[in-house]
């Protein structure tokens, strides 16, 4: 059995850094299993919540015998229930993600692994899926620290080149997972039909949604010269360009409009947006940017 630390996705340093973190959600959701998370529900934990009168059927174990002795009334103690959290990571594994150094997909996987690791060690339910999965192809749901290596194994199976469009992938995901929790979409949002339908669909879910927009350095600051015939790796589309300063500045404007539009779209719909450059180390991205956005603490 390979050790956890063997994986390229999670280095020991990164894991040590991540150990201290936990996933946060602004919404308190009901979990299915008892976890480490405070719930709206009262339950069994060590944390006192309230008193109430005993009614028939209550668990006698929760009676406060001291009060009964003093007041001669049956009063039971209520404790806060601690629950687990559903944490979904949705990775875009389309062909366009297979660019950059490291590739955007690798970066996405690393990010998913890191956040998944945080979730696993905090006893949250972690589920990593791709946009290319069909409506009934569920990904494994993992829980507990022991599942880290399984998560990594699963991540290894994800390969670039899935042919899908963004909106359909999100729709399939929503149909598979109707529950609540945190969902993180890791994608370059490069869809010729636009990212808006997909994000709109995601926003309609009752989930705490994060959109992590991964772009490679080559896309942010293209280093190209001369007369080129650009080939789209996904649909084979061609674009002939002659690189010039006006063209490059125009490209930057387009890129800024693209990124800015996505950010605005997300914030208007209560989603968190984060632009990630593939040159930014994952540890730094999580401990700095995602912490600022309130995904982890």
């Amino acid at each position: 059995m390979p050790k956890i630390t063997d994986s390229k996705l999670l280095s020991p340093d990164l894991m040590a850094q991540l150990e201290r973190l936990e996933l946060v959600t602004r919404k308190i959701f009901r979990g299915r299993l008892k976890g480490e998370r405070r719930s709206k529900r009262k339950g069994q934990s060590v944390e006192f919540a309230d008193f109430r009168n005993y009614v028939a059927g209550d668990d006698l174990r929760t009676l406060d015998w001291n009060l009964y002795a003093r007041l001669d009334k049956l009063i039971i103690k209520l404790f806060l229930e601690e629950e687990d959290l559903h944490f979904y990571t949705l990775i875009d594994a389309s062909g366009s993600m297979d660019f950059g150094t490291p590739t955007k997909l690798t970066y996405a996987k690393q990010l998913a692994a890191s956040l998944g690791f945080v979730g696993l060690i905090r006893a949250d339910r972690v589920c990593i899926e791709t946009l290319g999965q069909g409506p009934h192809q569920r990904g494994p749901t993992l829980r507990g620290r022991r599942s880290v290596w399984r998560m990594l194994e699963h991540l290894d199976t994800i390969q670039a080149g899935e042919i899908t469009n963004l909106a359909e992938g999100v729709r399939n995901f929503a149909s598979r997972n109707s529950g609540r929790g945190i969902v993180i979409l890791v994608s370059d949002l490069m869809d010729k039909e636009g990212y808006e339908p997909a994000l709109r669909f995601l926003a309609s879910q009752q989930m705490d949604t994060f959109v992590i927009h991964v772009l490679s350095q080559e896309e942010l600051e293209p280093d190209v010269t001369g007369d080129l015939k650009l080939l789209d790796c996904e649909d084979g589309d061609e674009a002939e360009i002659t690189v010039s300063v006006p063209l490059l500045s125009r490209y930057q404007e387009t890129l800024n409009a693209f990124v800015g539009g996505a950010q605005q779209f997300c914030s208007q719909r209560g989603m968190n947006y984060l632009l990630a450059n593939n040159q930014t180390p994952v540890g730094e991205l999580i401990s700095t940017y995602l912490r600022q956005r309130g995904l982890v603490r």
């Binding site: 190209v224 061609e238 010039s244 300063v245």
Partner: protein, 704 residues
Amino acid sequence: MIALAQVVDSLFRNTLAPWQWAIMAVIPPAIIALYFLKLKRNPLEVPSTYLWKKSIEDLHVNSLWQRMRKNILLLLQLLLLALIAWALLRPGWQGTQLAGQRFIFVIDNSASMQATDVPGAENRLAVAKQQATALIDQMDSGMTGMIISFANTPRVIQEFTDNRRLLKDRVETIEPTFAQTKLKGALELADGLANPGRITVQQEGIEVDVVEAQEATLFIFSDGRFEDVKGFSLGNLKPVYVPIGTHSADNLAITSFATRRNEARPEEQQAFVQITNFTNQPHEVVVELSLNGQFLDARGVEVDAGQTTGLVYPLADTSTGTLRASLSYELANEQKQDALPLDDHAYAALNDANPGRVLFVSPGNPALHSALATQRSGRLASFELKEPGFLDTDRYQQLAQTGEYGLVIFDQCVPRKMPRANTLFIGRIPPDRSWQEAQMGETDETAENEPQPSVTGRHVSVPTIIDWNRAHPLMAHVELGNVVIIDSTVITPPAGGDILIDSTAGPLAAIAPRDQFQDAVLGFELVGRNEQEETTINTNWPRMHSFPTFWFNAIEYLAGASGTEGTESVPPGKPVELKATGNPAQLTIQTPAGKKQTIRHSTHDVFLFHDTRQLGIYKVSDGNQVTQQFAVNLFDRNESDIRVTPSQDSTAGKLAADIHIGNVDIAAMTGITTSRKELWRPILIAALIVLLVEWYVYNRRVHL
């Protein structure tokens, strides 16, 4: 239209053949076509063309105008091509097209050409070389050129060739000399080389040139500091005088430097320095004198503009060595010194006294013989006693004319011709013309005869000596108080002579210079002969103490044995005759630069040394011993006066005065020789810069 064509012709020189231009013309359309055809676009796979498509939608990069405007690479390449084409046209201006087929460049490399009064060049010679090179550059193929340098002698630097590179290289080899300027030799050389085939053959009484004489243009690069050339016909040479230098060149020079005996104290040597001011202002100068490198004396004097001043330095008991005089002063110009430093130093050599050789020609004079036979006299000179008959022998003629003797004493006899030596005549008038004429003036009234080969002079009996020239070295310490003379001739010295002994009847002894020699005459015989051929006593002087003293003086002063003797200065480039005692097989001469040369003697026991090109002291040694020295100095007013003679013709801005060759006046070329200013080098450099910019733009995408 024709004028325009001429202008275009003068601005451009075609370097390519029509078909080559045709190829050139095809290149720009080819470049543009390549740009529009875009034969090759590099494919590049990108994650998505999504953003690019959106970007290029606005830019319309495919439109013609956009492509032209944005594509600086194309413009740069076209510019590069245009520059190359322009360079190939060899644009230029001010080109004076050389007319003719043959050119002779005569370049003056005399001492005055070392003047540094020319701005932007080392000296005048450098300017001359530059201008000659500029003219050579203008030569077209098929034109031939020849280079001659001249100072006192001409030298063919390069014979006729059409190889411009060779000509230019050879021009650079011309070295400055210290010699004087003599143009005629160069002209004759040019004439001889330019028209080698001027052979005429007589055919039926008509002279026909076998080879048709070809015209040649003769460029004379000089500062014009030379005498007019007389007796030369230019013939087919078309002279062009290119004056080099400026009118305002300031120079002060030592124009003479010699050692000589002090007039008052003959035992003392004096150094005499002559300074000439060739500037337009008076200047304070200091002349330092050093002996064998040791400082001896320094004196200051003010020299007026254009004037010459002398300075005299006493040289106490200095016997041998080398004297050097250095002129120092400050001019008001930038360098604080004059434009020709080489004449600010002068050299003189002090040589060991050689024992003089004295010939004593007498029919018999025991008194004198014993007076000359003293030990002290023997140290000063070696004596030869001969009978008057010896004067007719060839041996005497040869010795006398080669200057072998320091002094010849003629007792009661007269040579037919004055020897090349100092002479002392006893009782006879020298046969020299000046003496004869002086006696004629004296005897005109008494003896009314026409000039005769030998004048006897006016005879007087028992003259009483009343005075003698005590200041003259001959008469030093000579006391003639009780001397009685029975019979004497009154001596009248020629102009420049001194009376030595004066009497109641007139001068009895005199001395006068003749060229570089001195002739002393005693009017009275010491011993004479009467008609019976018996020896008679004419004076009681031989019995006096003063008699041997006088003869000692005579030997010391006239036999050239009076201590140190300065030698004449030799002009640079002039051969020197060297005499050596002991008839050695060879002499070694050390030049001022330290180079040693060995010369073998030529005829008449005379050594000829030619290599006197450097200024300074030359040391002559026989074996290991330095036997004599001589100095080479410029001492030439024409060379030292480096101001270019301004033209009398004030119009047309003429720089220098005309020079005269034969009967032809050659006007100075107005302005400097304008050479064709070629632009192709800067254009090619610009093209290179464009190429670099293009490379940079291509690599760094710097778009303007």
